[in-house]
């Protein structure tokens, strides 16, 4: 159980980054492991589980807004929670555009102009690649554990499903954008169901729902993630995982700026 409690909120936040994949890719725990524990222990366990992980994924992102609808096919790699690389494969005009996340920094490589640009702090809350995810969503995941206090706010049956509801509140001095994140977890399967984000005034801002669990290398992971902004009910961003593998061997410099700049 501990694992999910700590992991699910990051999932929601991290839609695009591969770090998210890690979170999704937790080994399905046996029922025996699903025992309530105290928050401290859960956190520690999760941190340990998280470290040293790596992943590789192919995913499709579908963005629907009032003004445009587009799809991107992306390949991504992650190393731990701190590093991730996402490269666009389709559409052709954006092919090769690459985002590198290292700790709290985000860099974009634009092949057409052969340039690497760093996202300035002022642009952190703007859209990532026109989706409903912000650049901040990419980086905030890595600081999730240190920024939020999580507790089990509900445990039991709701609408016929056995769930855990976990409420995460930012620590007083944490520099985060959310006022509260509520994560719902499917108790029997220990999979995330949804994450609901509130701003500092307690207003519902957006909802992320997870669906269609699939086995990727023996791990059961929701293969679809749908983000809906509250103020624009007709808009959404959906991420569909087409391939996902864990503990892959990555080139040592894959997350380096030099390699990003070389456009490989």
């Amino acid at each position: 159980m501990p694992i999910q409690i700590r992991r699910c909120p990051p999932l929601a936040v991290l839609a695009v980054s591969v770090a998210l994949l890690l979170a999704l890719a937790l080994p399905a725990p046996s029922p025996a492991s699903a025992q309530p524990r105290d928050a401290q222990a859960l956190m520690k366990l999760m941190d340990e589980l998280w470290r040293g992980d790596s992943s590789h994924a192919i995913m499709r992102m579908i963005i629907k807004t009032r003004h445009y609808e587009r799809q991107m096919l992306m390949e991504s790699w992650s190393g731990g929670t701190e590093k991730a690389l996402v490269r666009i494969q389709e559409p052709a005009k954006d092919r090769g555009i690459t985002t590198l996340k290292v700790e709290r920094n985000i860099y974009n490589y634009l092949p057409k102009i052969n340039r690497v640009t760093k996202i300035p702090p002022s642009m952190m809350m703007t859209s990532w690649m026109g989706s409903h995810f912000t650049n901040d969503d990419l980086v905030s995941e890595s600081s999730y554990e240190e920024d939020y206090d999580s507790s089990i706010s509900f445990e039991g049956t709701r609408e016929g499903d056995e769930i855990y509801e976990i409420t995460s509140i930012p620590k007083p001095d944490a520099a985060v954008v959310w006022g509260k994140i509520v994560t719902i977890i499917d108790k029997p399967r220990l999979l995330p169901v949804s994450a609901i984000f509130y701003d500092e005034d307690g207003e519902l801002v957006r909802t992320v729902t997870y669906s269609e669990p699939k086995r990727f290398e023996q791990r059961l992971v929701p293969s679809r993630m749908l983000l809906r902004p509250q103020d624009k009910p007709d808009e959404y961003t959906e991420v569909v995982y087409e391939k996902l593998s864990f503990d892959v061997k990555l080139p040592a410099d894959i997350f380096s700026l030099q390699r990003l700049k070389s456009g490989r």
Partner: protein, 441 residues
């Protein structure tokens, strides 16, 4: 010499009075010349000021309309409110307007982007223009400090190995800030209309002369095709600027375009985002300049009243002196039977002649000054080579006046009116003279 009622007698009396007044004027010629000189100075100042004001207004109007605004503009409401990228006027509307009216139309597109040259980056305002049509509506294509306005064709076409390089023209301060000149390469990064990262290579082909403070600092011109490629947009416009034939009434044209646009929207569908089509004339788009233009008439009148009042004080002084020192003379005239009315008329005539001579010479001097200001102007270019930014309008470094006949005759009328008003005081004294008193000393 009491004025009789017979017309011949009246004329004869008048002739004598006119003769006396004219001769009196030159009895103390030095004083008269000095007074006239004051009036000439006031007149010249007034006419020169009027010409300078007119020159300024014409420059402002020219800058407001010739360089970028046009006389009428079309937008979607949301573009006016928020510069909404998706609030576009369809290309079909432009074609309909061009087919139905004799006016010239220049479509434009706007977006913000990040421009980099070498290690320097600046936020820029992109303005997509139709090179040919823009030249029919504004003087912008010729308003270059360096280089050319050759935005039409790509510098390098796209190929398998290389992306295309499109030409851009920069505001002069932006060029300074990015440290680029004609031939320099610029990279643009922006959020395109489909949400992707719009990015591309560009080459500077021209640098503009000063247009307007904001545009000088951040404006970047490119062709509509290059704009649409960068921004992943298709076929709409944010703005259509209109140029009317010379002397066409702006409001009537605005109404006509408004009616045509309204009729068009009945039969065609506007893109969903953007709101109504709004047609405004330049005075509505740039009320600051328009207000200043209408205010200037009041301003010029107030200034002229002040200047002429000062000249009138000099006049008042002269005439009072002339009346005082001739008290005895007037007494004798009255004792000889010259009526008060005749005497008053004579003093008034003296003032009138004085102002007439002053007005004539002053008018000529003022016209010459105005003409010189119009032809040569005042050259500030050694202090301010880029011109002066005044209320958001860039004024040329050589300040030229513009002389209108209106300036000369209004100055003439105002001056004679004020001088005559001032001369009523000495006249009043004359009327109240008591011959017996003044003759006794």
């Amino acid at each position: 010499m009491r004025i009789g009622f017979h017309p011949v007698a009246v004329l004869a009396t008048l002739r004598v009075l006119v003769f006396m007044a004219w001769r009196n004027l030159w009895r103390n010629w030095m004083r008269s010349v000095l007074t006239i000189a004051a009036m000439v100075a006031a007149m010249s100042l007034m006419i020169g000021l009027g010409a300078l004001m007119e020159g300024l207004l014409r420059q402002m109007e020219t800058y407001a309309t010739d360089l970028s605004l046009g006389q009428v503009q079309l937008h979607r409401q949301e573009f006016i409110d928020d510069r909404e990228l998706y609030a576009q006027l369809p290309a079909d509307l432009l074609q309909a307007l061009e087919a139905d009216t004799p006016y010239r139309y220049a479509p434009r597109l706007y977006a913000s982007a990040l421009a980099s040259a070498g290690d320097l980056s600046e936020g820029v305002l992109l303005k997509g223009v139709d090179v040919v049509r823009e030249g029919q509506v504004t003087r912008l294509p010729g308003h270059l400090r360096r280089g050319s306005f050759a935005l039409g064709e790509p510098v390098r076409r796209a190929s398998a190995e290389h992306p295309a390089i499109h030409p851009v023209v920069l505001g002069y301060r932006l060029a300074e800030r990015l440290k680029v000149d004609v031939g320099g390469e610029i990279v643009l990064i922006t959020q395109a209309a489909d949400g992707s990262i719009g990015n591309g290579l560009f080459q500077v082909v021209g640098v503009l002369s000063p247009v307007e403070l904001g545009f000088d600092r951040s404006g970047m011109l490119l062709s509509i095709q290059a704009f649409n490629t960068l921004m992943v947009m298709h076929g709409g416009y944010h703005e259509i600027a209109v140029r009317l034939p010379p002397d066409a009434p702006v409001e009537a044209a605005q109404q006509r375009i408004q009616d045509l646009a309204a009729a068009w929207t009945v039969n065609h569908e506007l893109p969903a985002t953007g709101g109504a089509v709004v047609v405004r004339r330049w005075q509505q788009i740039n009320p600051t300049v328009a207000d200043m233009l209408s205010f200037s008439d009041i301003y010029t009148t107030v200034i002229s009243v002040i200047i002429f009042s000062i000249a009138a004080l000099g006049m008042l002084n002269t005439m009072l002196m002339a009346v005082f020192e001739r008290s005895r003379e007037f007494g004798i005239l009255m004792a000889m039977g010259v009526g008060r009315f005749s005497l008053t008329l004579m003093v008034l005539l003296e003032s009138f002649f004085l102002s007439l001579v002053g007005g004539l010479v002053g008018g000529i001097a003022g016209a010459l000054l105005g003409w010189w200001l119009e032809v040569d102007g005042i050259d500030f270019s050694s202090y301010m080579p880029d011109g002066i930014d005044w209320a958001g309008v860039i004024l040329e470094p050589v300040y030229r006046g513009h002389l209108l006949w209106k300036h000369v005759w209004t100055a003439e009328i105002i001056m004679i009116a004020i001088i005559m008003a001032a001369s009523l005081i000495p006249t009043w004294r004359t009327v109240r003279l008591k011959p017996a008193q003044v003759l006794h000393g």
